[in-house]
Symmetry: C2
Subunit: 412 residues, 2 copies
Amino acid sequence: MIAEILATGDEIRSGALVDTNSAYIAEKIEELGIKITRHNCVGDDKSELTAILLELGKRTDIIIVTGGLGPTLDDLSREAAARATGAPLILDSKVLEKIKSFFVSRQKSMPDSNTRQAMFPQGATILENPIGTAPGFSLQIGRGTFFFLPGVPAEMRKMLDEQVIPQIRKSLKDPYYYKNETISTFGLGESALEEKLADFPALFPDIKLGFRAKFPEVQVKLYQKNSDEDTLNREQERAITWIIKKLGHKITSLTSQPMATVVGNLLIQKQATLAVAESCTGGLIANWLTDRPGSSAYFLMSAVTYTNAAKQKILGVPPQTLERWGAVHEETAKAMALGAKDVSGADYAIATTGIAGPDGGSPEKPVGTICIALAGPQGAKSKRYFFPFGIRQLNKKIFATQALNLLRLELL
Amino acid sequence: MIAEILATGDEIRSGALVDTNSAYIAEKIEELGIKITRHNCVGDDKSELTAILLELGKRTDIIIVTGGLGPTLDDLSREAAARATGAPLILDSKVLEKIKSFFVSRQKSMPDSNTRQAMFPQGATILENPIGTAPGFSLQIGRGTFFFLPGVPAEMRKMLDEQVIPQIRKSLKDPYYYKNETISTFGLGESALEEKLADFPALFPDIKLGFRAKFPEVQVKLYQKNSDEDTLNREQERAITWIIKKLGHKITSLTSQPMATVVGNLLIQKQATLAVAESCTGGLIANWLTDRPGSSAYFLMSAVTYTNAAKQKILGVPPQTLERWGAVHEETAKAMALGAKDVSGADYAIATTGIAGPDGGSPEKPVGTICIALAGPQGAKSKRYFFPFGIRQLNKKIFATQALNLLRLELL
């Protein structure tokens, strides 16, 4: 059994929009053990659309189509599907009522054009859209079972996950269960991870192992399928336990949480508060921490002190420290962390001072050098690191992640 | 004349990677006045690849292929192209020398596998790769002129822009020049912009006008083609002058610069310095400002004061102000800005305090409320705004942009 994807719409065809739907769909379909052979994209053109639907219906078993279900005249998926099957479009009064009530609930009246969204090719099975006005539908064209979904990613994803994937799974002769786990790690490269997990394939022959770099973290991915759900869950559990033993604290999350959320959860668990002093990370640590709702429960402040004067005035870094060691030094970082802890009354403080580049490097302190300090109830410590990326934004990211990681290890 | 795009590779086919190349290529080809009819994608499979090359060669004039030019065995574009034309692969010794010297310049010896990258189907014209080891090539298959490019976006873009596009332009019967301008705006929605520019189509019939939301900014796009380059430049200049008159200071950049860079440039021009005090923006303003290399020339510090205590201690906000007005108030914002200016000695300071959500809203101060203050040589002012987005990260973005925009207007 093979499948293809068809993205429709002039915005994608002409390059005004990048098509992110097809990658999402491909992953989900391949998780069922069905091979995606091709992706296709055509614009809002009825004869082009009809032609490709007929082509796909000749060569493929399952086709996921996105886009062209809106209320406007250039939304042509319904018309093209009807033309490809030779069947007429028929108004579904139940769907029309739903669309009308969608507008009523928003205290608006339905524009006439939305009536189009209640029209379906004869023989189609309607797929409900729980979050938008555009329902989808499934339809047989030639040998192909087509699923027509909206182009809006949030709507498409929800309908694919909740309706299309279960329906396809049910139709499989040998339906099996699929499990996909993501283990986030920080501090080891892909090849080092591969080496540490070298015995995995022999120990877990039914589980496929993969690695994906999500800078600066690396994700370990486990893909497994089994016809028995219990066996699947047991195997997966055993594999994860084995990986945890091998990688230990290099694992930051088993649920794809960003580092700042992991640290936030640990602070909540410990009922502890945090202050930050940032030089080279320039506010990135604070920004990550405050992206999370409710972060005010533990995040008190960050002093983004780009100048020596600000380091002295706000964080109380002694002028002698700056004079003797310079801005980028373990001692300066330590004084910054202690200052942030002191001025805020936080339980913990982290501080960063380094050279993000492209300028400001020197032979002893090249671009990519950072000193990170951590102050806590047991005192303060400070360490120097070097990262060889040489690109300002990457440096800011890995500097900030490294600082948060130090705190994570302290809180574990 | 029509064109298609073929992305190759299992990573894209299986959804592990989102294909961003095709959108880039589509825009560039359509800029030449050539219609992209379809995008296609197949995996690393020699017979699938050969089959689609033959299909494309039957139905399309120009085909841009990406991927499959690497040194490994699953890089199959060369083999498939040779098979599709029935011609053998031939080693190009000049290219081989170049690849070898690429490795020598990095003080490495070339692995044997890279020899594959110097093999081309007989009859192909080589396209140089100035930044990687994988050269591309062009080749006729059926009616189609194929351009094979690497999948690495930076390499693909450079080769497309510098070699493929000029070559296609030269081959056009009526070659014309193309100009694409982007005008960034902030503070008006798409429909308001459209209304203000309603006379444009009548005044500049040869220029196509478009709008693209890049939250929280909206870009006005001008697309124009002309067979005479001077006429084109003159028309475009006239159009931009007209738009500047219509939109005035709503225009933030004519060169797609982010707001923080625009503000940075103005500060450099005025030789002025900036301090920031952030509550609800949580470090985002500082992070944006410091993403730009050299920002230490004008950015002195940001105090990300999430607690009232930090607002008092670091920024010297009077306890009575907080008691009387609360944390989210024009007076509190003003005290924060004055405090940041004072403690840092900066020429200007901006301050934000508001409710990013999802919690913390009230009937008088709902989620989306923000007070922004600006302190400068002429004193301080403060204002309240409300944005109806309701999503924390969007609120942080529009709050930060609004604050930077106030400073921009002050510095103009």
